[in-house]
Amino acid sequence: MTSTDESNLIERFKQGDRSAFEELVRKFQDRIYNLCRYMLRDPQNAQDAAQDVFLKAYRALKDFRPDASFYTWIYRIAVTTCLDYRRKSHREALRSAPLTEDLPSNAPSPHQLYESREIAESIQIALQKLPDKLRAAIVLREIEGCSYEEIAQVLHASVGTVKSRIWRARNQLRRLLKKTG
């Protein structure tokens, strides 16, 4: 469910107040950019994708139903946009690059990694190795803190499917990060 604050902004936008959209962008820019950054890794691609998300949202906002959740709605746009960007960019190059070469050479074991400064980088590299569906599910869960039900709404999947994808994503990530230990 959309919060009152967001509902007011959307209502103002529908009545022609363009500054309401600016406020929505300011409110969600960090979350959307962060999501794009973990989905795409490359800062420039992430910035372009985040901008596209808001452009798409601008076009579609007048059809937004007030009973829906705004952030679920905009996350859905963000995930779709990021997947499009990945398809367009050199996906094969990323996939074929061996993980051990990408990761810092002195990468610590998984147990110590969480204390390291290179955590975000290591996670981002490992995330790029996951299939698109698994990456979207785990990023929404771990980075954005979405519940299983919210992820199911964003990804248009059942809660059971979301649980399974998160479980598989975690197993694969553990294996990938362990390899570097």
Binding site: E22, N34, A46, A50, R59, P110, I123, K163
Partner: protein, 176 residues
């Protein structure tokens, strides 16, 4: 795999091993919703009692918790400075270049129109090519003659032109 026939009962240790294996399979799938706090109380209790007696699942649980801690302590990226301004500027630019359509033309539809247009152009080209063919009406009992326009219809090159010089060099047997 061991098979036990007839009335001979399987040793208790064998049954226990099988039972534990089944439990482990279920437990490993339960680790993920457990760390997310998404288990029903009954399921949670069953999982915890399994974990107490199973070192392998306990290890998997610890690794999954480590992974969660990694994500928690990982960096949160903020949008670059001036992000909102750039979004709004992009919107203005897009509005100026073309109005934002609520129902954009689907790429598939656009492609279909392009293909249809190309087919029309090709058909017109083939049909107009046929116009260059002249069919002469033959007198009764004779075969019709078809003529096409060709370079033979053109006059011979004048002697002072490049074509004329070329013809002269090639000799009289090359002349038309």
């Amino acid at each position: 795999m061991q098979i036990f026939f007839g009335t001979k009962r399987a040793p208790q240790s064998f049954n226990r091993k099988r039972e534990e294996k089944m439990k482990c399979r279920q437990a490993k799938k339960t680790i993920s919703p457990y760390v997310d706090g998404a288990l029903a109380p009954g399921e949670k209790n069953r999982f915890e009692s399994h974990i107490r007696g199973c070192a392998s699942c306990r290890e998997d649980l610890e690794e999954t918790r480590d992974l969660r801690r990694m994500f928690d302590s990982g960096r949160r990226f903020s949008a670059p400075y001036g992000f909102t301004t750039r979004v709004l500027a992009n919107l203005e630019e897009k509005k100026r270049s073309r109005p934002l359509s609520p129902l954009p033309i689907k790429p598939f539809f656009l492609r279909a129109v392009q293909v249809a247009f190309a087919l029309v152009i090709m058909t017109v080209g083939i049909m107009s090519g046929n116009l260059l063919l002249i069919e002469r009406r033959a007198p009764m009992g004779q075969t019709a003659v078809r003529e096409t326009f060709s370079l033979d219809l053109f006059q011979a090159a004048p002697p002072d032109s490049i074509g004329g010089v070329y013809d002269a060099l090639m000799g009289p047997h090359h002349e038309r």
